[in-house]
Amino acid sequence: MAAKIKIATTSLAGCFGCHMSFLDIDERLLKLADVVEFDRSPLTDIEHCGPCDIGLIEGGVCNSENVHVLREFRANCKILVAVGACAINGGLPALRNFFKLEDCLLEAYQDGIGVDNPQIPNDPELPLLLDKVRPVHEIVKIDYFMPGCPPSADVFWSYLSALIEGRDPTLPYELVHYD
């Protein structure tokens, strides 16, 4: 049997909606499982991504850990795909770009309504926030983009089928949506 295609997935500054949409391919998951093996992904709980054929990145880049994960994916994946609006343009998390980082922290941890024991978290374990949320293509080279918030299950299916078969993924008009 031919070696299985290795896929890694991660959610950076995203809501996991793209991953949920991926799971929406439903019974096609079984077909996928015949030819694909998952490396790092919320499905496997593997901590670091090893050498892979395809990396799917959901979410934009909002903190130092996101940068490391993204670079690790780039170093290990032959093909890197930006999945969904947040990965492509920052999406909802990037709405904080219009405020000062300090104000965001104060609002969330100190001044916000209902905040108990107000304090700005400060622990070496915590990744540092970037001053702006950035789309992934501004940090590493991205090979393909899957638009949508989230991309529909059919978009995932169409893209993955093409990539697995070694074709360039293209989307028919009906599947191109930004919302």
């Binding site: 501004e138 983009f145 919302d179």
Partner: protein, 279 residues
């Protein structure tokens, strides 16, 4: 003067006073555009309609059609340039389509879909722009303005008011409102004005009209902009000149045309939502 010109190998007739883009539309040939609108004086700011005419680069919305012109619109080079122009418009403003009321009815988005634009390519500006929700019926989200000048032209030429203007240059360019406070509420715009409905993006929105057509049932969810742009023109041309190339059953339904803020090709503006009486 009238005659014929050749667009991408198709013979297209034109009549007196038509620009290349209008001759093309009448014949059912779609050349993408954003700052143009049928019935408005040409403006030529977005450059999306760039074509080669007899070997020279021109904007199809400003150049008068002339007998014997050879126009190339659909070449890979021009399509590439159009995609890059559209990507620039996206990164220059803040286009978060999933949270935009206009999504699905937006011409900017539809033009991007038409070009199969899957990413924004350039680094994002995340420009800081204000929202003006001061008016009871109309709001401006400056994040989404592409400076097409259509609201400026609508207010001046159609409504006889001059509510809008574009000030500044380059990165400092902005849409301004002609009122003592600079706020929309202190201007003399009314929800029935053409200027309130003409915006091709979600920058000027009529309040309380967001979900008249649900997401997924909006104009460009159902029809590519190339179809929407040309069908009515083609049907009209068909009546007049025996063009029979399009299938009227594929037109957006009248309810979509009215409900959707895209009054794009309606000869008259869609009725404004009955805001005074609530719904």
């Amino acid at each position: 003067m009238s005659g014929t010109l050749c667009i991408d190998g198709i013979t297209v007739p034109f009549s007196d006073g038509q620009t290349i883009i209008e001759a093309a539309r009448s014949a059912g040939v779609y050349i993408p555009y954003l700052c143009h609108r049928p019935g408005y004086a040409p403006y030529g700011s977005c450059k999306l309609c760039t074509v080669k005419v007899n070997g020279r680069t021109n904007t199809a919305c400003t150049l008068p059609a002339a007998d014997g012109q050879t126009v190339i619109s659909n070449s890979p080079d021009l399509q590439y340039d159009r995609q890059r122009i559209t990507q620039m418009l996206f990164v220059e403003g803040n286009h978060f389509c999933p949270s935009c009321e206009k999504s699905g009815n937006c011409q900017l988005q539809a033009v991007a879909y038409h070009q199969n634009m899957l990413d924004n390519h350039y680094p994002h500006f995340y420009a800081q722009r204000e929202l003006d929700a001061s008016h009871p019926d109309i709001l401006i989200d400056h994040d989404r303005c592409i400076f097409c000048n259509l609201c400026v032209r609508a207010s001046k030429e159609k409504d006889g008011k001059e509510v809008f203007g574009i000030a500044g240059r380059g990165i400092n360019k902005r849409l301004i409102v002609n009122s003592p406070s600079g706020k929309l509420k202190d201007s003399d715009i009314s929800v029935n004005d053409e200027a309130a409905h003409v915006c091709p993006t979600g920058a000027i929105l009529v309040k309380r009209s967001a979900y008249l057509a649900p997401i997924g049932e909006r104009i460009y969810d159902q029809h590519p902009i190339s179809e929407v742009a040309c069908e009515k023109a083609a049907i009209k041309a068909g009546e007049a000149r025996g063009y029979g190339s399009c299938d009227p059953t594929r037109l957006p339904s009248p309810s979509q045309q009215n409900g959707g803020p895209d009054s794009h090709y309606a000869a008259t503006m869609p009725p404004a939502p009955d805001i005074k009486h609530g719904r």
